[in-house]
Amino acid sequence: MTVLARGGRPPRTPPVNLLGGPALRRAGLAVILLAACGFPLVFTNQQVASIGVDTLIFVTATVAWNIFSGYSGYISLGHAVFFGSGAYTAGVAARDWHITGPAEFALLPLAAVVAAAIAVPFGLIALRVRRHTFVVITIAIFFIFQLMAFNLSFTGGTIGLNAPFLLWSPVTFDQRFFYIALVIAVATIALSWLIRRSRFGLQLRAIRDDEDRASGLGVRAMRVKLAAFVISAFFTGLIGALWFFFIGQVLPDSGFDPIFDLTVALMAFLGGLGTAAGPVLGAVILEPAQQYLTQQVNNSYLSQILLGSVFLLVILLLPRGLVTTAGERITKWQARRRQAAAGPAAEGAQPGSGPGTPDRLGADQRPRGGVR
C-alpha cells in the first residue's frame, strides 16, 4: 500500500490537439490571418466590406467580454456600458476639442481608458454579489447609463453625437476601418489567449469553478475579478469608439443597446464560453448572418427574433458551445480508438495498476454524470 507506483500509469486523457501539432496549428493561424488581411481587397462590394468591419467589431467585443465573463463565470449583461461610454467619450472629445479628420483615431486609447475607469466603481459594486444577482445588477447599471445618455446635456440627449467627417472614398473608407479593426481584434485575441494560459487566467477559472475554495487557496478573488473586468471594459470601450467612427453617429439607444449585451453573450455561448477560440468563432458565424439578414430582409425585427431563437437553441442543444463540444467529441473518439488499439494486450502490461492503488479504489463511487 505504501509503495506507490511512481508515474506508473499513462495519463488517461492526453492533451487534445484539435488542429494537430503546434506547427500545423501555427500554419492554420497564419492562413486565417492572411485570409482576413486579403478580405477587403477581394470583396470591394461596399455592403460586404461593411459586414467585414462589423464582424471584426463584434469579434473584439465578444473576446473582450469573454476575458471577464467567460473565464470568471460572472455573466455580465452590462458591457454595453463600456461600449457606449467608449463611443460617447470619442464623440464628446472630438466635439469639444474640435478634432476633425483622421486625427480622431488618436482618441481611441482615451475612450478605452475612460471605459476602464468606469469599470472600477462598477466592478466594486457589482462584483460583491454572484450569479443571478450579479447579472441583475449589471443590467440595472446599464440602464442608469442609458438614462444618463438620454438626459445629460453634454451627451446631446436624444439627438446623440456625430463623428468627425472623414474625406475618404467609400472603398478606402471600409478598407481602412477594416485594417484598424483587424489590428484591434488580433491584439484582443492575443491578450485573451495569453490570459487564459497565465496564472491570472488560472485564478479566474478557479473562481468560476468555486470562488470560496479558490480564496481558501490564496487567490485574492476580488482583485482578480476586478482586474479582468477592467481589462474587458478597456477593449470594449476601445472598439465602441471605433464603431462610433465607423457608423458616424451615436444615439443613447444605439450606444447603450441592450441587444449588444445579448449579442456578445450569445456569440460567446455559441462558440464556447471560457475558451479562447470560441468567442471568435461565435462572432464570425453570427454577426455576418445577422447583418446579411438585416440588409436583405430590410426588417430589423426579423433578425432580432431570429437572434432570440438562436439563443434558445444554443442554450438547449449546445450549452457548452461549439469549441467545447467538439473538443469533448474528439477526446471521446480518441479514447475509444486508443482502447480499441490497446485491446487485450494491455491487460497484463500495467503492473502499477494493481487493485490496491487509488486509481482503482473508489471506482464504484464514481459520480454518475450530471450536468454542471
Binding site: M1, T2, L4, R6, G7, G8, R9, P10, P11, R12, T13, P14, P15, L194, I195, R197, S198, R199, F200, G201, L202, Q203, R205, A206, R208, D209, D210, D212, R213, A214, S215, G216, L217, G218, V219, R220, A221, A227, G352, G356, T357, P358, D359, L361, G362, A363, D364, Q365, R366, P367, R372
Partner: protein, 269 residues
Amino acid sequence: MTASPGDLGDRLPGSVLLRAEGIAKAFGGVQALGGCTVDVTRGSITGLIGPNGSGKTTLFNVITGYERLDAGDVYLDGRKITNARPQRVFAHGIGRTFQLTRIFARLTVMENMLVAAQHTGLRVRNPLARAGGAADRRRAMELLEFTGIAGHAGALAETLSYGQRKLLELAYVLVADPAIVLLDEPAGGVNPSLIQHIAARIRELNAAGKTFLIVEHNMDFVMDLCGHIAVLDYGTVVATGPPEIIREDPRVLDAYLGTAEDDDDAAQR
C-alpha cells in the same frame, strides 16, 4: 482577550501552533459555538470529535476565515489571525479541506494543484507568465504521486471518483506547504482500503513534521491516528486528552449517546 501577539507569545507554551481561544459564534438564535478553546500542539495530529451539530465545522470555518466569529481569538504561532479573510489565513500557513470535497471541476488535476501554488507572499510576479513554472509543476507532480493520483494529472477534475477527489483535495492543500492542515472528515464516504491509504499518507506527512487538526466521525480512524483529541458538544469543549482517556470518558459517552443518527448521516453522504 485583548492580548497583543507579543504578550501572548509569552503566555503560550512554545509548542502550541494553533490556538482558538474562547470562540463564540451564533447563527440567528442558535449558538453554534459557545466560548470553546482548542489548542493544537506543533507536530501533533489532533482530533476534533463530537456529535452532529456540535460545532466542529463551524470552528473550522471560523479559524479559516469563512465565518466571522462573535467573540474569541485565533492565534497561529502566537500571531493573532482573528477574522482574517480566507486568502490571508492560507497565506499565514493554514490549509484546509472541506467535508464535501470542493475541487475545481473544469480544471485539470494539474491545474487544480497550480491554483494553490499561486500564493507568492510579497514577491511580485508577472501575472501574464504561464501558469505553473517548472518548479511548481514538479512539486505538484510529487504531491500527486505521493497521494497516488499522478496518473490523472492531465484529466479534468470532474472525471475523478469521489475518493480520488478526496486525495486531490489533500494534495492541493499541501502545495503551498502550510504549517498546519485542517481536514474536515477525510475518511467520510470513502471505502475502507482508501481510508487506510489516507491514514498512511497523513502519518507519513506528520512524521515529516506536518501538524494536523482533523474532524472525523470514523472513531477507529481518529483513535488510531490522533495523539490528542478534543470533544465538542453543543459548542463547547467537554473533554480533551489522549485517545485512551477519551474513549473511557463518561462525558464523551454521554455526548455520543444515541449516535446511531451519526451513522445514518454518514451513509447519506
